[in-house]
Amino acid sequence: MVTKRFQCPSCREIASFSGSAGEQVIVTCPSCLHQGKIVFPAEDTASYAIEVSHLKKVYGNLVAVNDISFNVKKGEIFAFLGPNGAGKTTTVEMIESIREPTAGTVKLLGEDTKTSFDKIKEQISILPQEFHSFERLTVRETLEYFSKLYKKQADIDGIITALNLQSYEKMLYRNLSGGLKQRVGVALSLVNEPDIVFLDEPTTGLDPKARREVWQVVANLRQQGKTVFLTTHYMEEAEFLADHIAIIYKGRIIAEGSLDDLITTYGRGSVLHIQGCTSSEALVILKDEGYDARSEGNGTIAVTITYKDRVLDVLSTLRHEAIDYESIEIRRSNLEEVFLELTGSKLQEAEA
């Protein structure tokens, strides 16, 4: 299944269509009802690091993962974004051959994991959710331990330097802070110079500073050309790191694409925030004028802007009505709004 955005040749609106790769279909533009033939680009499987098709996991009468398909290109940072219990860990652990899928197939680097997982163990590396390594080995020993399990062994000193762990290398793992543990966890997933790195919620529970540090490390992996599969329930994390995002909700992928794709397709465009509004009338007036306006409390009004000219229209309306305000701010739609749009709930509140 591929999702592709096309621009309507008649009205210039952009619309997304899904179909199978290489398929030709007749589509109708949702704006002007213009009909046309489109071709979905053929898949270049050689460029995929991860190919997941119709993956499903059933626990009793709970369908934890429901017919999921997606591909991750080599060298891409792929974020699997979803609230608690959405099925992220179940999915990633089926991809890592830790859990048995109820149905569906997974290919890593072109190899079917069901039959040839052993072949690609040297080329992948994982950081399980809430990973906690051996208590009484030092950071360096922990790295040495895991590195010695592989044939291909990366330079431990290099990893220690790259992840800025020099001052902690002699510390016992159990004495590290949460952020350092996660950094060591990421470091551990580099000891075999893998092509694909799986990180299951690497920053959950970390303070903002520690989170940024882990982000920096993950961003560096892209520079080294590694494919990164990252699960998270922080949309800032996906926004900051990911080239490619899939949003999972109640076991299904409800949206997939680049950040821009998602925002353009599902976002509300941009939002104009009018802060310190003095008049209580303002909201009513804007609504009467037909704007999508709502109060955000504290005298702030948010107005959704579909075309950029509309900003001026809103402001002149306010001036016309002699409504004063302190400041304005235009915010681009973000993943939170995409999620809200798709599910009707906020990401952090949504518990599947």
């Binding site: 626990y59 652990e93 890592e96 051959s97 830790i98 859990r99 048995e100 052993d118 163990k121 040297e122 992948i124 590396s125 994982i126 950081l127 399980p128 959710q129 809430e130 990973f131 906690h132 390594s133 051996f134 208590e135 009484r136 080995l137 020993e141 331990y145 895991f146 010695k148 399990l149 592989y150 044939k151 016992l172 551990l188 075999n192």
Partner: protein
């Protein structure tokens, strides 16, 4: 199987183990302490006594001369025992460690030896084998005297001999009973808790999941962990024995059956730990379950106190406890030296080991549901 990976894993296991003071305490210091404490409580004064009791059935000049020589060594303190006393009963009643009997006809045999080269006479030396240090000294002093006498009499032909007899063929000291029990118990604790940690904590912490995606195989991992367990088991055994031998003079025999029992029990209790870890997923709860299983087993299996002292229904329960057979196998193979009991019990332990270890391995999964 990659021996390099296994060796590496064992090395790191030992390293982490050594850093865990608590574990080191329980596996090394605790047994030492118990052996010292229980040994002190139960082995009486423990002071070495060089007195030797002599019963003279010969009443000849020659027998008095022998006692005279013994006295003159200055090492032995001789107490005469009336001829009418029954030797075994007397030893038992007076808790005597060394007892020498000069038989009737002692002088006559020596005199006859000048004409009859086949004439021989044996003195009998009864001794307490648990008092190795003192009785050894007494015995060697007496044999030296006899040898010197033989030299003078006949240029070294053995006219006077010394036959030895243990004063207690059935009764051993408490510490002899205790040390094998302590070894069995410590091996059980180490194996059960170690195996529970690997199957609950390592699972929760994602270590098993991580390993599943690395090239190490489950057999390599199990082999590495069992090698480490055997290292611990033999280390504890060595230390317990060292304390037993050096401090309490326990007489220990290192036999193949003893080694076999130590190896089998390491597997046996690791298997039990795996089974517990399979059904009780939370580490703390699993540890409690392990305590609930191993603690009563420690008392009921005759680890610290002989089963004979317990009511008969408890003795019946002991028959189904693996630790009971471990204790019996160790005692008989290293202390009591009852070969047939050693073989039977070691075989039972081996069978238990195979059953529990195989069940443990089969029941434990690395993969998640």
């Amino acid at each position: 199987m990659n021996p390099r990976i296994i060796g590496m894993d064992v090395l790191f296991s030992i390293k982490s183990w050594w850093r865990s003071r608590g574990t080191v305490f329980w596996s090394l210091l605790f047994p030492i302490m118990l052996i010292l404490i229980f040994g002190a409580i139960f082995s009486g004064t423990g002071s070495t006594n060089f007195s030797v009791y002599v019963q003279d059935h010969d009443h000849s000049a020659m027998s008095s001369q022998l006692m005279d020589i013994m006295n003159k060594t200055g090492v032995l303190k001789i107490t005469m025992v009336n001829e009418s006393e029954n030797v075994t009963k007397y030893i038992k009643d007076h808790d005597i460690k060394a007892f020498l009997v000069i038989p009737n006809g002692y002088a006559q045999h020596i005199n006859q030896s000048f004409v009859d080269p086949n004439s021989k006479v044996n003195l009998t030396f009864y001794y307490d084998p648990t008092e190795t240090s003192s009785t050894e000294i007494i015995r060697s002093v007496i044999s030296n005297i006899i040898q010197t006498m033989n030299m003078g009499l006949s240029n070294g032909r053995n006219i006077v001999g010394l036959s030895t007899q243990s004063t207690i063929t059935e009764k051993f000291n408490y510490i002899d009973f205790f040390i094998p029990g302590m070894i069995g118990f410590t091996i059980m604790q180490q194996a059960i808790y170690g195996s529970i940690e690997r199957n609950t904590k390592y699972r929760k912490d994602g270590i098993l999941r991580k390993l599943l995606t690395t090239p190490i195989t489950r057999s390599e991992w199990i082999l590495a962990k069992m090698t480490f367990m055997l290292f611990l088991s033999f280390l504890t055994t060595t230390i317990a024995l060292a304390v037993g031998v050096l401090v309490w003079g326990v007489k220990v025999n290192i036999t193949p059956l003893m080694i076999l029992t130590i190896v089998s029990s390491s597997f046996l209790f690791s298997g039990i730990g795996m089974i517990i870890g399979r059904f009780v997923k939370e580490e703390e709860t699993a540890d409690m379950a392990a305590g609930a299983i191993s603690f009563p087993m420690m008392f009921l299996a005759g680890t610290f106190f002989p089963l004979a002292q317990m009511p008969s229904f408890l003795q019946t329960i002991a028959q189904v406890l693996p630790l009971y057979y471990v204790n019996e196998a160790l005692r008989n193979s290293m202390i009591y030296m009852n070969q047939s009991l050693a073989i039977t019990n070691a075989a039972i332990v081996l069978v238990f080991a195979v059953i529990f270890f195989v069940a443990g391995v089969l029941l434990t999964k690395w993969r998640e549901d």
